[in-house]
């Protein structure tokens, strides 16, 4: 599965990658996933349960060392899939695009707005 942030290709080491970038608020980050093949990269058992999957999980997003909270990670990250569907999760199991919109002008307002 390929991963880019603002068109910068990220290459995980031991299945893990840390992306750091100096940004000037307001800013938009675009996370794109691609290359996952339906029927090949997800394995299901005879009952239809997923037993193996290829995915990207966002573990943490921090602005100036302030972590965005669990609510943000699990309920505010929207993946627009290549099929035009929207999935809300930090578990990205489809090809598509996540746009992180940091619309505030300072970290104080941005962190607190996103964490509220």
């Amino acid at each position: 599965m390929n991963l880019t942030v603002n068109d910068e290709v990220l290459n995980p080491v031991d299945n893990y990658v840390l992306f750091e970038k100096n940004i000037q608020l307001p800013e938009k980050l675009s996370i794109k996933t691609s290359g996952k093949i339906d029927g090949k990269d997800t394995k299901v058992d005879t009952d239809g349960n997923i037993v193996e999957d290829m995915y990207i999980q966002i573990e943490n997003i921090s602005l100036d060392d302030f972590p965005l909270n669990e609510i943000y990670l699990h309920q505010r990250i929207n993946l627009l899939t290549e099929k035009g569907e929207t999935n809300t999760s930090n578990y990205i199991g489809f090809n598509g695009t996540v746009n992180l919109d940091f619309v505030e002008e300072n970290v104080f307002a941005q962190v607190l707005t996103l964490n509220n």
């Binding site: 300072n106 104080f108 707005t113």
Partner: protein, 488 residues
């Protein structure tokens, strides 16, 4: 845009250390810690600006049209759009004005846990503006319970926004810190050392010279006469932190009151002690000194005071003691009576009779002294019968309506390192959650919800009978509702 008068540096001066209180503390009077620590810094050979920033924030916020939204930030770190710019400017200006003094060290004093969000953001702004500045946090607000530990301070240190956490009696630990003895007990450690009696008596007088007194609703100076407590109440975690009762002499306290009055022209003092009359001999002497002074001067120069007080069993000296208390200038006494049921009070460790309460109240009324009775509803063995006794007591003591302010609080919480917590199993209690109020006593059917309803019932009766209560206390009210709705 708020600009802090207390941090104004019109002559572009420099201070080695800046110590400030951090919002939010709902106080119309000065917070003492910076003033207490300023002479300590100066004794260590450094210059210091020590002031009460909280007071200006409190005053500014109280007049703000969106005060509720501001409080949502201070209490819960919730940011509404309509105050986000004001709050950003608030912390940015606070940090910039602190750093205009070019300090090497900034001390942030957290009076209560409600200061935690502000202290976090202030320290972040400070470090962004000057990564070399050393930030220290201290005060009871750093910890969720009196005895700690402080996960909050640890998180700030790990994030790099704070460098040190000083806990407990800060006077000697801060002095040692400034002398580069950073391994001293209380500096980034759970263990700390209480000031000895001699050390406490040698602590210099607080220096309020950089407090901006126009800010306050009431011209009052805090003063400390003792630390620790003479009682060993079963519910109390204060005594788990301050294990020894240390007191200053009456002469020492009186001299401070006179000197501070002469310096600032403020004649009203609020004692920070957990009890002003822990050492009865010194207390009587202090009231004698104050009475002599007050009776020998004109009314406009008479000193006034308020503080916490304990009732004892009455005796032949009680009448004279109350006369002295009155002549000494007392206005309000807060009395931790805990429970109007004598048997419960005895179990708690407060061994004075109901007859003694009546005697003390009659003298207080005679002298026009306001008494705030601090109660705990739902002690571990309290039953419906005891609640009915409290209600009867209230009905039969309405002659004291003008004397009493009744406080019922948020029901009994069982805190770490208290006698109650150590004897949990023996008392037959069952823990039902992490909150201090989350416990039951199955043998008598005592549950959080039942206890909260008792507190509400008593409050309601109090109001119906005409007593003054402080049941509009937001923290207690909020907690009772949580308990009743089974979210604790």
């Amino acid at each position: 845009m708020i600009k802090f008068n207390c941090l104004d540096n019109i002559n572009n001066e420099q201070r080695d250390v800046v110590i400030v209180t951090v919002p939010w503390t709902d106080s119309g009077i000065p917070l003492m810690a910076p003033a207490q620590l300023k002479p300590i810094v100066e004794n260590a050979g450094m210059t210091c600006l020590a002031t009460d920033v909280n007071a200006e924030v409190f005053s500014w916020a109280s007049k703000h049209v969106k005060v509720d939204d501001l409080q949502r930030f201070f209490f819960d770190e919730k940011l509404n759009d309509n105050v986000k710019e004001d709050l950003f400017d608030l912390f940015k200006n606070m940090a910039e004005q602190i750093l205009q003094w070019k300090p090497r060290i900034v001390g942030l004093s957290l009076f209560s846990y409600v200061s935690q969000h502000s202290a976090k953001w202030l320290s972040w702004f400070l470090k962004k503006l000057d990564p070399t500045v050393i930030v220290i946090v201290g005060g009871a607000g750093c910890m969720s319970t009196f005895t700690g530990p402080s996960e909050y301070a640890e998180d700030l240190i790990n994030a790099g926004w704070v460098d040190y956490h000083i806990r407990g009696d800060g006077e000697h630990a801060l002095y040692q810190f400034l002398k580069n003895n950073r391994q001293y007990a209380g500096i980034n450690s759970l263990e700390w050392r209480e000031l000895t009696k001699d050390e406490m008596r040698a602590v210099p007088m607080p220096d309020y010279s950089q407090y901006y007194f126009d800010t306050y609703q009431k011209k009052v100076l805090p003063i400390t006469g003792s630390r620790g407590c003479v009682r060993k109440c079963t519910f109390c975690d204060y005594i788990a932190n301050w294990k020894v009762f240390n007191w200053r002499t009456a002469d020492d306290i009186f001299n401070e009151m006179i000197l501070q009055y002469n310096k600032y022209g403020i004649k009203y003092f609020k004692f920070s002690d957990s009890l002003t009359n822990g050492n009865m001999k010194e207390f009587v002497k202090l009231t004698e000194l104050l009475s002599e002074y007050n009776l020998s001067t004109t009314p406009e120069h008479r000193l006034r005071w308020s503080g916490y007080y304990i009732f004892r069993e009455h005796n032949k000296a009680t009448e004279r003691e109350w006369q002295l208390v009155a002549d000494s200038g007392v206005e309000n006494l807060a009395v931790g009576i805990e429970n109007l049921n004598q048997h419960i009070r005895y179990d708690i460790g407060k061994k004075f009779s109901n007859e003694a309460i009546d005697v003390h109240l009659s003298y207080a009324q005679k002298h026009g002294i306001k008494i705030q009775l601090l109660n705990i509803v739902g002690y571990v063995n309290e039953t419906q019968k005891d609640i009915e006794f409290i209600k009867d007591w209230l009905r039969t003591h309405t002659q004291y309506i003008d004397t009493l302010v009744m406080t019922w609080g948020g029901t009994l919480g069982i805190f770490p390192n208290t006698w109650l917590e150590r004897n949990w199993k023996e008392l037959g209690l069952v823990r039902t959650g992490d909150h201090p109020q989350s416990w039951t006593n199955p043998a008598i059917g005592s549950t959080p919800e039942r206890r909260a309803n008792w507190a509400k019932d008593i409050n309601k009766l109090c109001r119906e009978l005409g007593y003054t209560t402080d049941d509009d206390n937001l923290v207690s009210h909020y907690l009772l509702e949580l308990l009743i709705h089974d979210t604790v």
